[in-house]
Structure formats: C-alpha cells, structure tokens
C-alpha cells in the first residue's frame, strides 16, 4: 500500500450521468488512502447534483443506492469508514427494487 496521492474513479449509472453532462465516470484526486466518507464528500463538492442523490443531507447513503468499492458493496465492508486506496474504482448502482410497480 502507498500513501502517495492518486485518483479514484467513480462509475455512474445512466440516471446520474445525465446530471454531469452524460459522463459515465468521474475521476477524483485523493491525497492517499481515504475513507469512503471523504471521497463521497469530495464527490458532493465536485458534482453536487450526483452527490446529493447518492447521500442524503445527513451523509447516509440512500437506502436503495449501492456503492461498490471494487467488487464489494460498502455495507459489507466498513460502510462509510471503508478505506479506499488510490486507483480504486467505485461503482454507484441503484438497487434492484422494482417490485412495487
């Protein structure tokens, strides 16, 4: 592991890409290994229309939104305290939750 600055990539679903000019991924600079909370704060500053759809104003990730850190959904790791290494790809993916019509 390195403490060197680097980048993380955030891949977005179509529904969020429309809020950043159609971009399906965003690249964020980080100072080194960072908490997921810090990265989502960064996302909120960089792309507020995306950030507030991922987290509510308390900072909680919305119920039917999943944030994968690499291959693992963050809730199966340490949630917002999950450490994210430079070079990691984050995926924002809405839940499969269409059963109510």
């Amino acid at each position: 592991m390195s403490d060197a600055p680097g980048k993380v990539t955030v891949r977005l679903p179509h529904a969020l890409a429309e809020h950043v000019g159609g971009a399906r991924e965003l690249t964020l600079d980080i100072d080194g290994p960072s908490s997921l909370a810090d990265i989502l704060d960064h996302l909120r500053r960089t792309a507020p229309a995306v950030g507030r759809r991922v987290q509510d104003e308390t900072g909680a990730i919305r119920t039917f939104v999943n944030v994968y850190v690499g291959d693992d959904e963050c809730r199966t790791l340490e949630g917002l305290d999950t450490t994210v290494q430079p070079g990691t790809v984050l995926y924002v993916i809405p839940s499969v939750a269409g059963g109510c019509g």
Binding site: A15, H19, P48, D56, E57, R62
Partner: protein, 354 residues
C-alpha cells in the same frame, strides 16, 4: 384551463375545458409526485409548474417548469435540504403552496414535520426554524401517511396557518415565529384525552374565500368550522353521509360555501360507492350532495392534496383525482363534472390553473 396531476408513479398535465381535455404523455415516470402547484407569473406568461418529486432511488427534489412541463429546472445542490446540524433528511415534499400575497414566494410542507419558504419561486427553500424548534415537535407523530406538514394557508392579515398529521393546526401571526396550537374543540378518538391542546389528526384545512377568520377542517373524525381563525372549533358534520374524508375546499369568492368528499373510514371508499362532493352554502350548518356526472360505483378514495378549487367565471372550477387513477373536473362550481382522464396510477396531487 390547466390541470397538473401528480401520481405515485409519474406526472401528467391536462389542458382543456368543458368541450374536452388533452392529457399529456407521462412526464418523469420514475418518481412519485406528492405535491404539485401552479404559480402565477405576470406579463401574460404561463404559470410556473412546481412539483415535489421523490425518486425511490435518488431522494426528493423540487423542480420547476415554465413551459407546462416540457423542460425543467433544479439547482445543482437541490432546492430543499435540512442544514447539516439538523441530523435528519427530507423524506417527502407533501405540499407546495405559492403565496398569493407575495410574488415568487412559495411555501413547502415536508416530512418529517417541517415548514419551508422560498422567495425565488421555488429555487431554494429555507427551513422555518421557529416551527422546527417548537417544543411540541417531539410529541407530534406520523399519521398513516407519514409525519408531515400537509396544508399551508398564508392569509391576507399576514398570518399563516399550517396543518399536520398528527399534530393538528398551528398558527403564526407573521408566518415566521410564535407558532401556537389552534385545535380547541376538535375531538380525537384515538387516545384517552379527547380534547388535547394538539396532536389532532387533521386531514386538511381551508379558509373561507370572503371571511378570512372562517376556517374549515376535515379531520380524521369529523368536519369542523372555526369562526375565529382556529381559536375554537365547532363540529359541523351533521347531514353528511360520513364525517371522515381527506378533502375540504372553500369557494374562492362565495362566503360560507365549501365542499368535502365523504369517505367511509371502514372501507376507504365513497359511501355506497357514490363518488360525490357535499356542499355547504351556510358555513357548514347544512350540506347537500352535488356532482352530477360523477360515478355511482367508484371504489377508491380521494386524497387530501388531490383536489383543488380556483375562481372561474364568477363561480369556481374544481378538479380532483382518485386513488384508482381518475381525474374529474367541474367548471360550474361543482354542480356537474366530466372525466378528464382515467387509467393513471394512484393520484396524489392535483392543481388547476387558468
């Protein structure tokens, strides 16, 4: 006439009159629209359409459209959000009320119980801190639909009335501070104390079009009237087929005239399936059934924000929607109705505009 129709899954607009209605294609289908509003704009421009949307995935938003829903605006950071130190998030925007007293002022009632005000036509809302910090707030409870301020009435004298489920009616002399409960005389049947100071389950309130101190309330258990701006209330349900319902509308220009839509609380259907309005012309002393053209075999309710009345041709235009996706309109003060549309999702909110 324009009608905005917010449903559990999508938004529609309708344009037309007695000769027929043209209904739009669904707009923004991946959200529910608990609140809609038309805000008048001067200089012959079409009214601004405001909507309180909630995506099941991405949360709540207030959006505005100045072209009948063709294009939409929303600030990047969102129009409505609690300050960081509040520790809660907006769950649902239950009501949007343009203030008839001030151009570009819009009020919002949200879940959890909170009142908001915008001075830029719905672009950004500020939390009413006096009501948010009210000592009664920890004792307000969610009704079946949620913990919401659902009715906001800005009045000509500068005061504002709000109603919430369950919390009851509150009044502020200036709309900013000094919120006091205004529920004396309204009985509750869901707790031992029958006449509490607050926590009544009010479903909707409406202020008389002529006498600003005359207020009507459709409560969970009965229809009430106040002749003193909510200081005291009298039960006025005698003569109605059921005293339960969600809707009360006051005629914009005829004093003492109001309508309710009785619902059987056991079935949540209109009594005997007859979907009708009941009208009073004497401030609730007597009631009569109206609504020629409405169905006799209708098995769905009408929700509180799914009915609206405006002044029209020296009388009133009324539009309302039902939980089985029908919308009806009357351009003769509720005497006769025609169907605007059917087959929509559960109708949550309806607003009509010239």
């Amino acid at each position: 006439m324009r009608i905005a129709i917010g449903t559990r899954k999508g938004l529609w607009t309708a344009r037309g009159d007695d000769s027929g209605w043209a209904v739009s294609q669904p707009i923004r289908t991946m959200a529910e629209f608990a609140s809609v509003a038309w805000m008048p704009r001067g200089d012959g421009r079409p009214p601004r359409l405001l909507v309180g949307a909630r995506s099941w995935f991405w949360g709540p938003s207030v959006l505005t459209s100045d072209d009948d829903g063709a294009t939409w605006s929303e600030p990047e950071s969102g129009a409505i959000a609690f300050p960081a130190d509040a520790g809660v998030a907006v769950e649902r925007i239950w009501n949007l009320t343009p203030d008839p007293r001030e151009e570009d002022v819009v009020w919002a009632g949200c879940e959890p119980h909170s009142l908001w005000r915008s001075v830029d036509g719905g672009g950004h809302f500020e939390l009413n801190s006096a009501l948010w910090e009210h000592p009664h707030r920890p004792e307000w409870h969610p009704g079946a639909g949620g913990a919401a301020i659902h009715t906001i009435v800005p009045r000509a004298d500068g005061s504002v009335l709000v109603a919430m489920s369950t919390g009851g009616v509150y009044r502020s002399a200036d709309g900013a501070s000094g919120w006091v409960p205004a529920n004396r005389g309204i009985r509750v049947d869901f707790q031992p104390e029958e006449y509490p100071e607050f926590n009544q389950c009010v479903h909707r309130i409406a202020v008389d079009g002529v006498d600003g101190s005359l207020v009507y309330a459709q409560n969970h258990g009965g229809v009430y009237r106040s002749k003193d701006s909510g200081d005291s209330w009298q039960f006025i349900s005698a003569g109605l087929p059921k005293d339960f319902g969600f809707v009360v509308l006051a005629h914009p220009t005829k004093g003492g005239t109001a309508w309710v839509v009785p619902i059987d609380p056991e079935t949540m259907f209109p009594p005997e399936g007859r979907l009708r309005l009941w009208r009073t012309d004497d401030a609730g002393d007597t009631w009569r059934e109206v609504g020629q053209g409405l169905p006799d075999d209708h098995y769905a309710s009408v929700l509180r924000d799914a009915a609206h009345v405006i002044e029209h041709d020296d009388d009133a235009a009324i539009a309302f929607g039902t939980r089985n996706g029908c919308v009806f309109a009357s351009l003769d003060g509720g005497t006769t109705f025609s169907e605007v549309v059917s087959g929509l999702p559960d109708v949550l909110s309806v607003r009509i505009s010239a």
